[in-house]
Symmetry: C2
Subunit: 206 residues, 2 copies
């Protein structure tokens, strides 16, 4: 089936954000990244800051599914947390966007949320440690935390969040159709590869 | 730097073997797969059967490096096991081949063995569960073990072997430059992507 949607999951500092935007520009389609945040803010009434921090909430020790099953067996009500409300809203918004138009969606578990669709190309962008550090310092500058610690913290928070809502392990190749090391291949090559595959791959098993 | 070598790591039943051979044919270079087995057999005197089983030895509970450090601290001699002898021989043979000629090398921890070289493109091929089962039954037929169990056993043995000799986790994207899901992309697309990258990517950071 012809691909219509590209989801880009990425490591912090891997250039995934830039690659996603460039791919969308090259293909002449919208890239949902900051725009998605705006839509979720509109839909839920939460601030963008809260929505951003909810996506890196490391306090969730079990998966959402696990909590729901336990609560049900204890005959407790499944009260959604504010982070859950954000997730459910983003799930609905991402599904609507995918239905409506060809686009690139960066992050926000979009690979998982759209897992039933056959017209998605799920991409994971990662990079070598040194390269991530360099990119983070260039983009966000120094702060009180050493850059290695910033990467470790962000990785850990993203992993917890992803596992909580998807019951999958974050960053495993099996979640994606293609994984690209932007340090080894270069951002330009990553952009080219994704655009070509998007237009060329028509495989019924996808 | 221009790439000269392609290492293909793969899941059992993912089509990595076929893809490796097709890539080599398309590029007009040698694919070392069975040929490597012959060379290791010649170099060590072990039978091909033993060499094949050594590459899936699940009895090694710690990494080779860990064992060496412990033995040294206990003032024990580091006696290589037959499996170690095979690994050291294959390490030497793979390094010599990489020095000598442009080629594709399938499996045998070649991504790790050649990790210091800047002219390698390290590829990981994986596939969806159902597709792996189908390919295994087509290629090797039924046997007394259910196909799901055959996959689980093989995955487990390969993981143990890889971790033992490399001190890395098998199948993590970070070990490779590109990971391709052959179910989603199709074998032909995987072959095309690898050939193009091999000829096109010239990135000093690789």
């Amino acid at each position: 089936m012809r691909k219509r949607i590209i989801t880009i999951s990425r490591e912090f500092g891997s250039g995934g954000h830039t690659i996603g935007n460039a791919v969308a520009e090259k293909l002449g389609i919208t890239c949902y990244d900051r725009e998605l945040l705006e839509k979720i803010a509109e839909g839920t009434g939460f601030s963008r800051e809260f929505i951003e921090s909810a996506a890196e909430d490391s306090t969730a020790s079990h998966s959402l599914l696990f909590n729901m099953v336990v609560n049900r067996s204890l005959q407790l009500r499944n009260e959604p947390t504010p982070a859950d409300t954000v997730f459910f809203a983003q799930m609905e918004i991402i599904r609507k966007i995918a239905e409506k138009e060809e686009c690139v969606i960066v992050g926000r578990c979009s690979d998982y949320i759209l897992r039933e669709r056959k017209d998605c190309l799920n991409v994971f962008i990662y990079a070598d440690e040194q390269d991530r550090e360099k990119r983070i310092l260039q983009r966000y500058g120094e702060n009180e935390k050493p850059v290695k610690k910033r990467i470790a913290d962000k990785d850990s928070r993203r992993k917890t969040y992803y596992s909580h809502y998807t019951d999958r392990l974050c960053g495993m190749p099996q979640n994606y159709h293609i994984c690209l090391n932007s340090s080894a291949l270069g951002e330009e090559s990553c952009i080219d590869i994704i655009c070509r595959i998007f237009r060329e791959v028509e495989n019924e098993t996808a």
